[in-house]
Symmetry: C2
Subunit: 226 residues, 2 copies
């Protein structure tokens, strides 16, 4: 643990677990950040804590934010998560308004306090479920903004970089990459609607993408399904 | 109250009170948003509530965020606010990491839920105390990012605009403008270190800027000083 500090956004899912392992492999000390934002279940945060422990994070901070104050998403409101597939051309109801912008903004604040210039996020543009804030042009624009937002812009020190190493990877490629890095995917949870004891529904959009990914990677899916 | 909705960031200070009045004058329904972020005093939020009431805001929402989790500022840590002037070339210790980025991100989320495309913020670049996230280039970059961040970017609907109408104004010009619009500045508070009953210290950087502004505007300063 003597690398440079990086802030890694950790959801407890498959993608961010892979990103944390990639950050470690690149020589960074991982400062993991998760959010309690009105999710239906604490299962995600328990998974994030397991992932942080396994990747030997320097610290894991959980930030409380209340996205429910705004409403507007099946993930935070009391409306049903769709279970029978989604329209591939529509933005799904599980979209949370400006979520990645809020998450990255908190990561930026923490990075500035830590003196870190590297922020890792596990978005990918291929299996992105149609979310606008998972696209490369969005991330590039966030990075440009972030480089103007902090003291470094005034003081001329190193600028912030937003790393999204999964951006061009399929779910199968992510799973193969993480498996090579020793990620234990049984500790992660991708489901939008898990049971209270952490088993995945196997039917939501996120479960479907995950199952397809393991199948295409030719690897056994260690997920515990309901 | 039949205009388009706009989200107005309201701190309880002189600048944001003027911005709220400008938004109303421009025909917007004001949806005011303030933050409880570990400030030393509740005085700011009481002032924000008075300003929201006076500008006949459609609603006023206070969002809890915990910037103290990151530390790094005299406004949120237990370190003393400077009272004897500041180095004009240095970023002051009262700087809060990524604060405007976090505030604007929440405003963006709320705007998306409201179906609003206009966000107002009371930053200005002249009397900006050296904060990086009060500069026009920062705000332009945030707007570009925001236009890529939300459903509108996918669906091709109207893009988000960040309005910073005070950006090029001196404090004296802001005070004259607000006075013309009927803003009652006695209900606002600018002080970094007010007394518990809402009187300003008269000595911090923010109080000095405010006093200078009223003096240059040739108007009586209605601020209650300790």
């Amino acid at each position: 643990m003597s690398g440079r500090a990086a802030v890694v956004l950790l959801s407890g899912g498959l993608d961010s677990a892979t990103v944390a392992a990639l950050a470690r492999r690149a020589g960074f000390d991982v400062h993991a950040m998760s959010f309690r934002y009105g999710q239906r279940h604490a299962v995600e945060l328990e998974a994030a804590a397991r992932v942080a422990e396994r990747v030997v994070a320097r610290q894991h901070r959980v930030v409380d934010i209340d996205l429910r104050a705004f409403g507007g998403s099946a993930l935070t409101d009391d409306i049903d998560v769709p279970k029978d597939g989604v329209d591939p051309d529509a933005i799904p109801i599980t979209y949370v308004p400006a979520r990645n912008t809020i998450f990255l903004s908190f990561a930026l604040a923490w990075a500035e306090v830590l003196g870190a210039t590297d922020i890792f996020i596990g978005v990918n543009a291929l299996d992105y479920s149609g979310y606008p804030d998972c696209r490369p042009e969005y991330l590039a624009a966030f990075e440009t903004m972030a480089q103007l937002a902090t003291k470094a812009a005034i003081e001329g020190t190193a600028p912030v970089h937003i790393h999204a190493p999964l951006i061009d990877m399929t779910k199968a490629e992510i799973i193969r990459c993480g498996t090579d890095l020793g990620v234990d995917y049984s500790t992660t949870i991708s489901c939008y609607d898990p049971t209270a004891d952490g088993r995945a529904c196997g039917r939501c959009d996120s479960c479907r993408l995950r199952q397809k990914g393991f199948a295409e990677a030719g690897l056994a899916d260690p997920t515990r399904y309901a």
